[in-house]
Symmetry: C2
Subunit: 303 residues, 2 copies
């Protein structure tokens, strides 16, 4: 069983993470976090979401985030964009890469973005038609790939369909999100095999939440399936919006520790990443969701 020699880590803490933390974080702290993350060598950092600040106060000042960060050569800074209006705002703020967020669950789509899956794909197609000619790259997300908080089980067929549609409309990569963190490794093997019939493995990423403690095992399963792009969130920022108090995203530090253990290249420095996570946890006044960070903080011997 051969794992990828190199993995691209996509850091989603400043967006998916902070968006799901109860307390909004000050603009300058969000900028400082992003700059620390890029200094740690992360190649992709999702930094903001151009959504309504009334609906999502944690993501306000998206333009100020984009203008405030130091852009490190070698790092890209995608922003989430729900529609044409968000796209125009992102472009005006100097975004060079955007992300769109679809779902494999009809009910989740309705409740999360107020439209059917088909309507969301039409909307994203409009966004893409406008964004691609202007030189933007587009990353696609599919949420609820392993289960939906409303519907329960989600058909692999549906995940493959939505992932394929996102690729068709111009996404260079589709990230498969276990939004509620219920998947186990066997399910991930099946999921990727099925989706890979529609979208090549080289264009797939995985995005796992640790709600049931399975994120690292699931990432290992994805690596075994030849996936080489992994989303994670520094300090495990975020949570399960459907279960207040539950764990958030896979912690970037713990993912990097796993990858380092396999000798997989990432270009990311663990020490600097841990520092970035500790910085934001201090600002949030919460314990790190990264066990690596906690073990180091506790003075535990490190391999």
């Amino acid at each position: 069983m051969s794992l990828p020699r190199r993995v691209r880590m996509v850091e989603v803490g400043p967006r998916d993470g902070l968006q799901n933390e109860p307390a909004p974080v000050a603009l300058q702290d969000r900028i400082a976090l992003i700059d620390r993350l890029s200094a740690a060598g992360l190649p992709v950092i999702e930094v903001a979401s151009f959504v309504s600040p009334q609906a999502v106060p944690q993501m306000s000042d998206a333009a100020a985030v984009l203008s405030g960060i130091k852009r490190r050569p070698g790092t890209t800074y995608p922003v989430l964009v729900p529609n044409r209006k968000g796209l125009e705002a992102a472009l005006a703020a100097g975004a060079t890469e955007i992300a769109v967020f679809g779902s494999a669950s009809e009910t989740f789509s309705q409740r999360n973005i107020n439209c059917s899956i088909a309507q969301s794909l039409e909307r994203f197609a409009e966004v893409a038609a406008s964004a691609l000619p202007r030189g933007l790259r587009i990353r696609g997300y599919v949420s609820c790939v392993a289960g939906c908080p409303y519907e329960g089980a989600v058909a692999l067929e549906k995940v493959a369909q939505v992932a394929g549609s996102l690729q068709d409309l111009g996404c260079y990569e589709v990230s498969l999100g276990d939004t509620i963190g219920v998947a186990t490794a066997g399910q991930i093997h099946n999921l990727i095999r099925r989706v890979a019939e529609r979208v090549p493995r080289e264009q797939l990423a995985v995005h796992f939440h640790d709600t049931y403690g399975q994120a690292l095992a699931n990432i290992l399963a994805a690596l075994e399936e030849g996936i080489s792009v992994v989303d994670s969130s520094v300090a495990g920022l975020g949570g399960c919006p459907y279960a207040p108090g539950a764990s958030g995203n896979a912690a970037s530090e713990d993912v990097l520790y796993l990858l380092n253990g396999h000798g997989i290249e990432t270009g990311v420095t663990l020490d600097a990443l841990v520092d970035a996570g500790n910085f934001i946890c201090q600002r949030l006044g919460r314990q790190s969701g990264s066990k690596v960070a906690r073990a180091r903080g506790a003075g535990c011997a490190s391999a």
Copy 2:
């Protein structure tokens, strides 16, 4: 890649877990925990340690634990025994299975049990020579299989040697312990392949701590290597004694969730296991170390 169809879960919470919790737990609560664990269907529960109550106050009243529990048919209740004196006390208390605890690290052996590895193996051989003819089964542990808090790296060769010696002296099974939780999955693959040259896979178990968040991924790697006996601790009880505040053992609930996801038989009921974990966490006044337990407590949808 085929995983085992059936896994034997070895519950170590009442011993390895509670021994490493800062606060000793009342005798009747330890007994109540063990009875809840057996009612959940666990086939093996390590319930006590016959060591000096001065040295390890958390493990005092070992005989009272053994006499207080309801013995469920189908569950065995091993106890840890450091030497002949401990063996006699365990036998007098009605133990039918014992465990001995060796190390693959010379320095750890000296600091943990005050003798060299060779001396510990001689001691265990004496214990075995006295225990086996009296019908006791013996389980062996090797600690520090992936790293030592004092020495750092530990040679695979050394792990294989100690595991082999434990088998030679009569242990029916040898549990490989990543005592400080530093291993990653690739290391586990290599470890098991090397040790399996000396001790057959059917006689090996794994015992992983989650200090660096890797326990579930490491268990998955072990299952992929054909290991079908997994130690874990309900609610992730315990800690890293070398790093106060760090995580403890792999949480039994999270391990069971992983195994259930693969359709692997265990005979253990998740609901009852979560209840047992929540019971002891309430008594300890601490949050569960199981993410499954926390997700359920938070009302998160479950797969």
